[in-house]
């Protein structure tokens, strides 16, 4: 009787994405298993100025937050636009994927994704310049994320030099 129709159980907002952490210690199967059980979310596209307090206020709407780890520039040790949010239960994290992912925090549309679990070292950006990889290569100007991308910044400096 408790017939559940697959077609009606759609819950795509909580699906695991295509992203896999290249630094993950273990094989793909293990990583996927952890992603499917995880209570931890990666949160991206934050402003560099977004605080732990703001993240907490938003994500606490989905349940009790166990901890928040703000992502840091590896060299400067300042916030570099991402964080991890860990809940006590997976159900609460699923609600964050359903209702917070794709909405705004600090005026920016943020993106949440399942994370296999925080490990020491994962709070640092992996870009060459110390921030996130995406900030190395982007071409646009984003005042909340340090202005131009790092590569674009270098080109600009070169350009200025060449003009003179």
């Amino acid at each position: 009787m408790s017939a559940k129709l697959n077609a009606l159980n759609s819950d795509t907002y909580t699906d695991v994405s295509q992203y896999r952490d290249q630094h993950f210690k273990g094989n793909r199967y293990e990583q996927e298993k952890l992603l499917k059980q995880s209570n931890t979310l990666y949160v991206g596209n934050l402003s560099f100025y977004t605080t732990e307090e703001q993240v907490h206020e938003l994500f606490a709407k989905c349940g009790d937050v166990k901890r928040i780890i703000i992502g840091l520039d590896k060299i400067k040790k300042t916030a570099c636009g991402f964080c991890f949010v860990e809940y006590y239960t997976r159900g609460d994290a699923e609600n964050a994927m359903r209702f917070v992912n794709g909405t705004r925090l600090d005026d920016r549309i943020i993106r949440t994704d399942w994370d296999a679990g925080f490990k020491e070292g994962r709070q640092y950006g992996r870009g060459k310049s110390g921030g996130q990889v995406r900030d190395e290569y982007r071409q646009d100007y984003d005042p909340a994320r340090g202005g131009y991308g790092k590569l674009a910044q270098q080109h600009r400096t070169t350009e200025v030099r060449n003009t003179f």
């Binding site: 017939a3 129709l5 077609a7 938003l58 928040i68």
Partner: protein, 795 residues
Amino acid sequence: MSRRRHSDENDGGQAHKRRRTSEPIEIEDRLESLICRVGEKSTSSLESNLEGLAGVLEADLPNYKNKILRILCAVARLLPEKLTVYTTLVGLLNARNYNFGGEFVEAMIRQLKETLKNNLYNEAVYLVRFLSDLVNCHVIAAPSMVAMFENFVSVTQEEDVPQVRSDWFVYVVLSCLPWVGKELYEKKDVEMDRLLSQVEGYLKRRVKTHVPMLQVWTAEKPHPQEEYLDCLWAQIQKLKKDRWQERHILRPYIAFDSVLCEALQHNLPPFTPPGHMPDAQYPIPRVIFRMFDYTDAPEGPVMPGSHSVERFVIEENLHCIIKTHWKERKTCAAQLLSYPGKNKIPLNYHIVEVIFGELFQLPSPPHLDVMYTALLIELCKLQPGSLPQVLAQATEMLYMRLDTMNTTCIDRLINWFSHHLSNFQFRWSWDDWADCLSVDLEKPKPKFVKEVLEKSMRLSYHQRIVDIVPTTFSALIPAEPIFTYKYMDESSSSLPGYPASITVGNAIKNRATNEEILAILKEVPNPNQEDDDDEGESFNPLKIDVFLQTLLHLAAKSFSHSFSALGKFHEILKALTDSDEGKLHILKVVYDVWRNHPQMIAVLVDKMVRTQIVDCAAVANWLFSQDMAHEFTRLYIWEILHSTIRKMNKHVQKIQKELEEAKDKLEKQQHKRRDSGDDEDMDKNSEDEEGQLEEQIERLQEKVESAQSEQKNLFLVIFQRFIMLLTEHLVRCETGGIDISTPWYKNCIERLQQIFLMHHVTIQQYMGTLENLLFTAELDHHILAVYQQFCALQL
């Protein structure tokens, strides 16, 4: 194929991978998909899609009959918003295959019995409604449906059963009549009249003590907040007066009338409602939320009146759509906006009303609050030219009626509005609300604005709030959330704790050990004692003050810093808070230093409860203490209290679960032993294991009892405090000859209500104690009324 980006193309997630091979599973999935999707947007008409699908299914009956039965039964239960689409489908199948029709009806009856047995009363309503619409499709004979209704209504004659039981049976019958009233009256008007007269009698004798507790507004104007059965009865009365003419429901079966009326009908087997069981959980009563009428939607189609059956059907269907699609907000928004018949009604108004109705529902919304915020944002995205305006209009109306709005509902409005604004750059016409500045700031309107600004600040930052409101609103702007350090600088050097604060501060900065710090603290004089206590162990408020103020000051930078500090010095904090006075004082100090940052207070208290530096009762006592009286009406106080109660509840549940698991393990172990035969060694090991498990169970049993005792005590403390505060106020007003209804009183009495409503499941267990110890007849009737209304929810 180009690499897919995770954009808005899909609703949030991945497209399903297509399987290459055609297996039975594949065909079953296809059948499910075909059936579930019929009625959705299509290039062909609904009628031709139904015709086509009926043909396909008829052809598949020889091989997949059971599967098809199962799917159809499931959609009847799970897709009530598409009721008439599926009854038409069943009608077509019955016309082509009489036996299948009969088997389907039998399967539905079986399913109905199962859902009732499993306390799934809401789903059972949809099943009965489906059966009743099958009368319209010539699948079920009208007289047998009337007979079922007669059996349902006869439940009202039962004695010594909870009112909510007979309520449900009456509700089911009434709620089917919009669909099938006409047909049943045409065939069996005498019986139907008798039925309705029985219902009328029942509704007149019903007890309605519970209603005030469930109303969103206490005012009857502009829209009465009607009890759900009263409203439905009025709607059915009106429908009857209109000779059962109902024009809103989409009825695809009408197009197939020539085919369907050739079909043979089945009789419903006689259905006796299952008897009342003590563990039955009938749905609790509701109040119908209304905030709009036809005057509010000035242009376009007219909004059906509050007692029109159209209003009932529209609201039912919109609620069902939300229930089906709440997990996928884009789909949910799209489905709501493509409601069939939307051109004849002011759909945006209905949608906004239904959504707020759910958000404000008492005791609690059907879904998580934040779902509604996300859904409204999606709706605004899909209808940017019309929905935001309706939403703004709604917000304005809600603001205007704040004076009579239930405090719990105001809380939810605050949270929704601030979160919503944070997604739209906090754009709002604050000046429109300038009227709130000229009244006592404790009144609901300025209080609301103040709380909204505070929550908005939490999602942004102080300067932002200063920038977004007119300067006239400065009295309502929250304080800057900065630390208040008593031992700041030389100007505080005369304070008794000042020297110690410097020493302790330096010790912490130089990574002194706990022993060293405790030694420093031992030297702190105790203002509560004349001479030195030999042990220096008794409660010394100054010690706590100096240590905690200094520690939290050093860790003030962020939540993480403060949590880290609490963790690092857990040992010291535990030692300092050994007594109840110590626990109370630590909370006092936390408030002292962070009084401008309620969010920080909340997270610190949470951490301290979780790490057992303070216990739940201490938090309750602190919140109700005289020191916190001036904060008593602020939202954050109640968020802390409810969070604390929830932690207590989860703690009890956790241990109960451990106990159940241990018991299960023991049972399995015992079965294993019984089945394993005569192996002596195995026996011995088994016995040992069992012995260990039994010990563990005993320990867990004690733990559960102790936790439950703590939980009961927490509620007792809270209720006792409420009673004391309220009684004091009532007596003072009486002797002074002043009106009891101050803003403080309204807040306090509704906060008491809120405790009952938010934790009713847990409180049920302790009703006996509460009634004997606290909510006795000697209590002031204002306070007792709250308790009685709560009890009435379960009748």
